[in-house]
């Protein structure tokens, strides 16, 4: 512990880091927010002053040590300041999702027992007032945006600036108290409480200590060489642990500037204006941007269209990965005279070399003219009209990539707001390989990480130069990972959460006495490069009859990746081979049928069309090949499959309303089909009951063809069984 403290210096809390930043980077920008069309900025010194005034104001309102201060609002400097101000007076900030409905907010506010609430605007104040009628422990509500709140009862409602004024006025009286409370903060005191999104049951309050936040921020900043010159755009929900780490933890640790967009709608414009150097977005954001780019390229002129596709194809072949990645660290310290001379000299040499090359080529051309006849020269000219092939191999690729950078990648990156990105992260769900490849080939260092609130974000991250689409990287600095027999991932790190607030049972369930935390996800380490690969939720992973791992979701996701396949259900738990039901996507396959003059009258007919089956078989076999590459999962190759005659539907109870397959029900309902799949039949008759949207019931009869798919490796062995 003493070692950790030494590593972090004396900065055992966020307010302590703030004080350091004021001392070291006092005049550097700390926060920017676009307001009234202009980027307003605050230096560290100014921000510290604002925070102090607010902290004193909260003290004047009677805030106690350990009080929870709920913060509800969009990303604004004032809201970040409220969090630090709360910490300064020994209270605990609890950021909430601003788009939460009243019921959700009520649960969280009641659970954390907040006496103080800081709101962004009228919308949030209204919600809190509604909650206040049911739970009575909220004493003071502070709001930042005055609009529409003039007529409200102000006995418990305060304007942010009024509180600051009061704090300023009471400076001499309360200064001592505040300093005393600030000094009490140590590495083990609570830094923040964040609520999990609660996809499984009620949200839980994750208590994170200063150690969790500061150690995680420090380790991750060092991992990616983040420094004081970074710029980030704070646009993700403040209640999410990621935003807390990026916009408060790392920003405080490194001293870099946090930029807040004008409003949620202007996020893309603001992104472009700021051009962050460090960026995080869920895959969905990248996907939308890519789609927009592609649509706009379709509308562009021929020259632009050709240029774009030529250079993107070139970059995707590996050149982007090789030549495009930004330098690891940007040095922006002022150059000494010696460095200036050295750089100047290098620059001059560069120009001289370029001039020499041109002169040399002109002379060579002259000689070539003397030496070869006109027809020979014509032949060369036809092969290489503008002299692009003057250089060969790597040098050629390098220059071509640089040319592409000037013509295509650079402007495109600038338009997307990624012009200065050195480190970009995506997490949360799997990102499609072609999306990932697109951004990386343009020279955006987009990486994946795997994390959760309980770990203070970081469990595994991808180091520069070892980025792959299908893994989530190596354990983050300071993180230990172990896998259980069932493949479930456990981790232990300095970022491991303290406890779930007021919920010792859940804490005990998740975290064992030694500090290992269960993630609930199953995965394995890639043998070749030691990267972690996530396959599924642990509870969905089973074992096959011969003891090999069975991860249906992993295979299903690979299948669903084809636009033709809407849904897939893979069976094989405790059986000797895997089989699959497949649903075709009517839009995609229908489109294909139209283009290929395949006539069909119904979904059922299209689904049973031999040509469709052939295409699906190809897909299945390709997936088998890629599944076979993973030693751990090679048992999950699909041996036999069929294409269902109807779409799996929530009305029939086969899926949940959020479109997740209910495996059990499907298994029961289509038992004859499964028996046929495992019984070696080549076709099977089935009659299924369907529920129409108006509630009437009917039935569909069909005879489905069952196909065998080629599997890779161990085929002989399987056949023998």
């Amino acid at each position: 512990m003493s070692q950790e403290l030494a590593a972090a210096g004396d900065f055992a809390s966020i307010p302590a880091l703030l004080a350091r930043n004021v001392k070291t980077y006092g005049n550097r920008p700390a926060y920017r927010e676009k307001e009234f069309g202009i980027w307003q900025s605050w230096t560290w010194a100014e921000a510290a002053e604002e925070i102090e005034k607010l902290a004193l104001g909260l003290l004047a309102l009677g805030i106690d040590r350990g009080d929870h201060v709920a913060i509800i609002g969009r990303n604004r400097p004032a809201h970040y300041w409220a969090m630090v101000a709360a910490q300064k007076v020994g209270a605990v900030p609890v950021p909430l999702y601003q788009d939460a409905v009243v019921e959700e907010m009520e649960y969280v506010l009641e659970h954390c027992g907040a006496r103080f609430v800081v709101c962004g605007d009228q919308e949030q104040v209204d919600k809190v007032i509604e909650v206040q009628e049911k739970i009575h422990h909220i004493e003071h509500v502070v709001y930042y945006d005055k609009r529409g709140l003039r007529k409200y009862d102000h006995s418990h409602l305060h304007w942010y600036h009024d509180i600051q004024e009061e704090g300023h006025a009471a400076h001499s009286r309360l200064q001592g108290e505040m300093a005393a409370r600030e000094a009490e903060l140590d590495y083990d005191s609570t830094c923040v409480m964040l609520y999990t999104s609660g996809t499984t049951g009620r949200p839980k309050g994750v208590v994170l200590s200063n150690r969790n936040i500061i150690e995680s921020a420090k380790n991750s900043s060092e991992f990616d060489n983040l420094g004081v010159n970074e710029d980030i755009l704070a646009y993700l929900p403040m209640a999410w642990v990621g935003d807390f780490i990026f916009s408060l933890g790392q920003a405080m640790w490194c001293g870099f500037c946090v930029n807040c967009p004008e409003s949620a709608e202007t996020m893309m414009t603001d992104l472009r204006e700021i051009g962050p150097t460090y960026y995080f977005a869920p895959p969905r954001v990248f996907e939308t941007q890519l789609t927009n780019v592609m649509i706009r390229m379709e509308d562009s002129g021929d020259l632009k269209y050709a240029l774009f596709h030529h250079f993107m194809d070139f970059a995707k072949k590996g050149a982007g990965e090789k030549y495009g990645m930004p330098r690891r660290k940007v040095t922006t310290q002022k150059k000494t005279l010696e460095q200036k001379i050295r750089h100047g000299f290098r620059y001059a040499m560069g120009i001289g070399f370029a001039a020499e090359t041109i002169v040399e080529n002109v002379i060579r051309l002259g000689f070539a003219k003397l030496r070869y006849g006109k027809d020979v020269r014509k032949h060369f000219k036809a092969k290489d009209p503008i002299g692009l092939k003057l250089y060969r191999g790597n040098a050629h690729d390098y220059f071509k990539y640089r040319l592409g950078d000037v013509l295509v990648y650079g402007p495109l990156k600038d338009t997307l707001g990624f012009g200065r990105i050195r480190v970009g992260y995506t997490a949360g769900e799997a990102i499609g390989p072609e999306i990932f490849e697109f951004y990386r080939s343009m020279g955006i260092n987009l990486k994946q990480l795997y994390g959760q609130t309980e770990a203070t974000v970081f469990i595994t991250v991808q180091p520069d130069g070892e980025v792959r689409n299908d893994t989530v990287g190596v354990p983050a600095p300071g993180v230990e990972i172990k896998l259980s027999d069932t493949g479930e991932i456990f981790y232990r790190s300095p970022g491991t959460f303290v406890e779930y607030y007021n919920n010792p049972e859940s804490t005990a369930d998740t975290k064992d006495p030694e500090g290992w935390v269960a993630t609930g996800d199953a995965g394995f380490f890639d043998k070749q490069n030691g990267h972690l690969r996530i396959i599924d939720r642990a509870k969905d992973v089973g074992k096959m009859a011969d003891g090999r791992l069975f991860a249906p979701k992993y295979v299903e996701n690979k299948l669903k990746f084809y636009p033709d396949i809407l849904e897939a259900v893979v069976f094989g738990n405790e059986r000797n081979m895997c089989t699959a039901f497949i649903n075709i996507d009517l839009t995609a396959v229908g489109n294909w049928a139209e283009r290929n003059n395949v006539a069909y009258a119904s979904y059922q007919e299209l689904a049973g069309h031999p040509k469709v089956l052939e295409t699906i078989q190809e897909h299945v076999e390709t997936v088998n090949k890629s599944v076979a590459e993973d030693e751990m999962l090679s048992g999950c190759q699909i041996h036999r499959f069929l294409v269902l005659h109807k779409e799996l539907d929530a009305d029939d109870g086969e899926m949940t309303r959020t479109r997740k397959v209910r495996r059990k029900i499907v298994e029961e309902k289509y038992a004859p089909l499964i028996d046929a799949l495992y019984g070696g039949k080549s076709e099977q008759f089935i009659e299924t009951e369907v529920t129409y949207e108006d509630g009437r019931k009917g039935s569909i009869k069909a005879t489905l063809e069952i196909r065998d798919a080629a599997v890779v490796g161990k085929k002989q062995e399987m056949a023998a069984e």
């Binding site: 676009k34 307001e35 009234f36 069309g37 529409g148 003039r150 007529k151 004008e262 709608e265 202007t266």
Partner: protein, 276 residues
């Protein structure tokens, strides 16, 4: 007793506790004719400081003509318009604007090719005094003025939550947003009396809710007096302090929303009783 019904008192207090001041605009026996067509027949009513005054009526009742009389665009053949205690002589539109009147139009009248920001800046034209030469030199007066006026426009943009379309040409915007931009332009002129001609026509429920909120906030925040024409009865009854009802150029009702709602003539006009 000072209630909303007491029209002769200098001021009254509304149900939600706002104090409405004295008369800002007083229309006395206005009659407007277009050739033989009598658009407005002997109508008198007043608009008070800080209130939201609605003019309603079936199609062709003469509402828009009334608004044009208030804005000084039409000159009534008979009757007088008193503005802030003085009889208003016939005026050019820009003179009216200088007096602190601004309006929006039923059919949006924006500059399609210009950006939202530029459109809103045109609302400030009356406040820009630099001449063409000063504008050309830019440094000094012109720049100072531009900055001052831009600041006011930015506050309006912030108020109406249209930051995301600040640089978008108006022609590319959907209808609901265009309406909001038009309101922004009127608001940028910092009027003391704002005339809205069907601010919610052709909007969906959500857009109407937004617009209602803006109108109330505007009245609340800047104390702007608002006169509006609207067809949506629900909106009018919720928003306005007093309502004038017109039918066939005549005033058939005047009072608080409740009074108007119970007025037999108004019910007849809206439910369509045969006129003889």
């Amino acid at each position: 007793m000072t209630t909303a019904t007491d029209m002769n008192a200098d001021s009254y207090v509304t149900a939600d506790g706002r104090t409405i001041g004295g008369v800002v605009m007083d229309l006395k026996n206005i009659t407007l004719r277009f050739g033989g067509v009598v658009a407005i027949k002997d109508i008198s009513f007043d608009i008070r400081e800080g209130e939201i005054r609605a003019i309603i009526g079936p199609n062709g009742a003469g509402k828009s003509s009334m608004l044009n009389v208030i804005s000084g665009f039409y000159k009534p053949q008979e009757g007088e318009v008193w503005f802030r205690g003085a009889k208003r002589p016939p005026m050019k539109p820009y003179q009216v604007a200088r007096q602190g009147l601004a309006r929006t139009f039923q059919n949006i009248a924006l500059f399609d090719g210009m950006t939202v920001l530029d459109n809103i800046m045109t609302g400030r034209l009356n406040h820009m005094k630099a001449n063409i030469f000063q504008q050309a030199i830019w440094k000094g007066k012109a720049e100072r003025e531009e900055l001052e006026n831009r600041e006011i426009c930015e506050k309006v943009i912030d108020f109406l939550e249209i930051q995301h379309i600040r640089k978008t040409p108006v022609g590319r915007l959907p209808y609901g947003l265009k309406k909001r931009v038009e309101l922004a332009r009127a608001l940028a002129a910092q009027p003391s009396l704002l005339l809205l001609d069907e601010p919610m026509a052709g909007m969906n429920v959500e857009e109407k809710e937004d617009m209602s909120r803006f109108i109330l906030d505007m009245n609340d925040e800047f104390g702007t007096t608002i006169a509006l024409i609207e067809h949506d009865m629900g909106v009018v009854m919720d928003l306005s302090d007093r309502v004038v009802v017109m039918d066939y150029g005549k005033k058939i009702g005047d009072g608080t929303p409740d009074e108007v709602r119970n007025n037999q003539d108004v019910i007849d006009a809206y439910l369509g009783v045969a006129h003889d």
